[in-house]
């Protein structure tokens, strides 16, 4: 594997490290659940040790939000400190608030947001949530304040107002925004998924392309560039992905963040009531029943087009098929029927989202979550159907080949993921000619990393017989 690929996450080989004598116990000792719990305890203990900055890289579904809640509860409740949780969007702030209130009822929690923000009815009705709009309204004693990064950056909250700042989804926080809020707390903890979509910067950043701590790079990456000795504790276990998916996702997208799955594909699987022997789509579903949690339905090659009506129709039919064929998710705790609310469709473009929504059966169209990868970040469904980002593209381009986007697409499922694409993607990848070499001093090359991840995934699918070609007549 290339050095470029290894350094993509902004982490060096030593993922788990703490200064001094508070290093966590590492190694493959104990069960997956024990390892996961131990990592959480290490993070909690690090705060008692007074670690000034802690980075927690986390694979998909490793319990980031749960960890954020625990650390916030420890600071605001057990240790009687002032803690601020920084989210990237208002929606994330709302969800975190509701979860904190549900899990820690005695914790003093406040949402700090702008006055004109329209809050969800559920929050408005909850009398136990404190909502503040001005810095002077913030609680004075021990508390947990939730706010989005932009609100904190623009407000007049005094420097060092908090003891701890927890940045949720920190790999989506650009360094210039982190700079504007970093001084608000004495200690910082950055939690996030390093394999996902990078911060969206609309302006030209060429000027800082050689700067590893430039204003556009994700905050944890910049912190590691300026303070290489920063403590890092990786979460080692994905609770969402089962082993079959976790293995390939880890290899393709997280080469420097080793993790395993909490559950095996035999412990969490899909069982269909009935499957037709000759139906082509049912062939793919049969593979899922056999434990192939990641598979691909491949349409015949066609003229390149971004919003391909045929792919949209097949995705809608795959979704429909899960419901019609009576899919049930069987876990150790029992079984439940797969309905529209348990299925998600992930696309690259907004136009693809609408194309799929327009073709879903009316009975389930309001239940199935159809969204772009950007909006799907942080969400999960039992079953996901993915519109392959390279389907309909004659050449590799940075947006479509972006490893972060593909990683989000392939890591939202708890049980199974079906990728829908067209034949010829491997040929497109084979034809790839690297563009300009990376600038001096920068080892990362997002386009190359994306190409590598796409190839790794496709090779895995082909070699393990998980690609189900669909004849043209079956698509109509």
């Amino acid at each position: 594997m290339s050095a470029r690929m290894k350094s993509r996450l902004g982490l060096d080989a030593d993922v788990n490290r703490l200064p001094g004598d508070c290093a966590p116990e590492l190694g493959g000792l104990g069960t997956e659940a024990e390892r996961a719990d131990r990592a959480v305890c290490d993070v909690l203990r690090a705060h008692y040790d007074g670690v000034p900055a802690l980075i927690v890289p986390s694979p998909p579904g490793a319990g980031k939000t749960d960890l954020v809640e625990k650390v916030a509860a420890q600071e605001g409740g057990t240790r009687r400190r002032r803690c601020v949780i920084v989210t990237q969007t208002n929606q994330q702030a709302f969800e975190l608030m509701m979860r904190l209130r549900a899990h820690y009822s005695v914790l003093p929690i406040a949402l700090y947001c702008r006055h004109s923000l329209v809050l969800p009815d559920q929050m408005v009705r909850s009398a136990m949530l404190q909502i503040v709009h001005e810095p002077r309204q913030l609680p004075t004693g021990p508390c947990v304040v939730v706010a989005n990064a932009m609100k904190l950056a623009l407000s007049a909250v005094p420097i060092a107002s908090f003891d701890l700042m927890i940045v949720d989804e920190a790999w989506q926080l650009a360094n210039h925004l982190f700079l504007a809020i970093a001084g608000l707390a004495k200690r910082v903890m950055l939690v996030g998924d390093p394999g996902q979509i990078a911060p969206v910067i609309t302006a030209d950043t060429t000027r800082w392309q050689a700067n590893l701590a430039g204003p556009h790079v994700p905050a944890p990456q910049a912190l590691l560039a300026t303070h290489p000795g920063t403590a890092v504790i990786g979460l080692p276990v994905s609770r969402r992905l089962v082993d079959d998916s976790a293995e390939i996702v880890q290899r393709a997208f997280y080469p420097n963040l080793p993790f395993t799955a909490l559950e095996r594909s035999t412990d969490r699987r899909v069982v269909f009531r009935t499957l037709a022997a000759t139906h082509q789509l049912d062939g793919a579903l049969r593979g899922i029943e056999r434990g192939q949690t990641l598979s691909m339905v491949e349409l015949p090659q066609a003229a390149p087009i971004t919003t391909d009506a045929e792919i949209a129709a097949v995705i809608a039919r795959v979704v429909d098929r899960f419901v019609i064929r009576g899919a049930n998710v069987v876990t150790r705790d029992g079984a439940h029927r797969v309905d529209g609310r348990r299925i998600g469709v992930v696309c690259a473009h907004r136009s693809q989202v609408r194309a799929v929504r327009a073709r879903l059966t009316p009975a389930i169209s309001s239940e199935v979550l159809v969204e772009t990868a950007n909006r799907f970040q942080g969400l999960e469904r039992d079953i996901t159907v993915v519109w392959h980002p390279l389907a309909g593209h004659p050449r590799v381009r940075d947006f479509h080949v972006d490893a972060g986007r593909f990683c989000v697409m392939l890591s939202r499922h708890r049980v199974a993921c079906v990728v829908v694409g067209r034949a010829g993607i491997m040929e497109v990848l084979d034809r790839y000619a690297p563009g300009d070499p990376p600038v001096l001093g920068v080892d990362t090359d997002p386009e190359f990393d994306g190409w590598f991840a796409h190839r790794e995934i496709l090779e895995h699918l082909i070699n393990s017989n998980r690609v189900f070609p669909l004849a043209r007549r079956a698509t109509t």
Binding site: Y48, V106, A174, H176, V188, T307
Partner: protein, 469 residues
Amino acid sequence: MRQRAVCSHTHAQIVIQPHAMVWAAVGLSGEDSSLHAVQIGRWNRPPSVTAVAADPIRGDERERVFDQVAIVLERYFAWCVKRAVAPQLIVTSSSALEHLTNIAEDYRFFRSAPRTAQAARDLTYFAERAPIRGQQAVVSLAEVLSTHWVTPLPPSRERHLGIVLACIECPPGADLMALVLEAERTPMGPVTDPAFDADQLAPLLAKYRRAVRRRHVPAELQRRAQAIREVMTPVTSKLYHAIQRGVGVLIRAHLPPLPAVTEWQRQEVRAFLDTVEASQQGVQYPINDRAKLAAFRLVIREDAQANYEAAVVTDDAFGRARSVCTGQTLAGITENRRRTGHPTRRGHVHTFDVVTTQDELTVRPGDELCLADDPRLVCVVRDYRLIGGQTRVGLRVARGMNVPGVPLDGSEVTMIRAVPDWHRLGRRRAAMAERLRVLPWTHVEGGAAPATDPETPPTDLIRALEVLK
């Protein structure tokens, strides 16, 4: 193929100033920051300076050219300061702008040649303004024309000014592709044609260098330098005239300026006067930004980008139509106007639906939209449903329910994402300046973290949290 370019904007995003300067320059192939030949002059006038370095690698020749550039730019800047207007420089394309940026960055700290450094410092002003959307300091003409006109060519070919002009000026019935191929033969970038280099320039340059090496008499050196000037001057003249032609096309289109241009010009004047003042105090643009400066710069660029996009959608009819087609803007008929009691406090919640037939709609629950005709009405998307070929978008009014009021059922409305906010940047910069008086330790290379005393943790960390449930 359609046989000519079509104007795709109702408003101009840039206004050519009467005092704008034309910059037509070429470097030596392989030497990205060399200045081999340059012509500078006001638009609609012949060049006031034509300077050619016989060999741009030689220091004395380079300084002679840069000295002339410095004189022109100094005079122009002084003229602008006196009248409190911002300077404007017109170049052929983005590659010419890149060449100008390379010159600015490579020579502005050149201590051994103060006049060269001065010229580079003046050029730095234009290079620094260029990445800010909506700026009026540098006109990259091929880009400006291909923004305002749609050509039947791929974007990669629209970077050539000659090709863009051929598309716009193509007479009815003419063979456009033949005109494009003809235009393509004349390089419009900052380097010369490789065939010209091999056949004409290289032999002359070799002769000149040989004469210098052999210490020929000044008259002989002059003769050989003159030969180089004679072949290089037509190269820059072609660029100079193409720019004049392009500016003429832009002016003859008689596009009224976007309302935002007034604000952009105001910003330009302020940026220019600030730069001049800083320069007089000895402040120089650094090559590498520290964390604080980089953050401010990126914030400025992002804010400019947001305002630019909003201004085009708000005030340009084509821009808005494009936004409707791409689904960024919601256009439809209002229905189902309702007023219900607020769930928790006094007052009412106003809601209405917009029914649209747009194919590619990108709005989602939680998005904020404002009425294009009166942006005081701000709504939040509650939900959307696809019914047949229509989409029904449910909106809840967040602001403006009294003035301008909720649209009546059956009204045609266009809801846009945002309008330009010219005060946002000021607010953001003020907040950043206040917050960053002391840089946080996290952003100081090797900065020491504040000391915190360790505490003894409870034996069971997880159980300690249970009491909070």
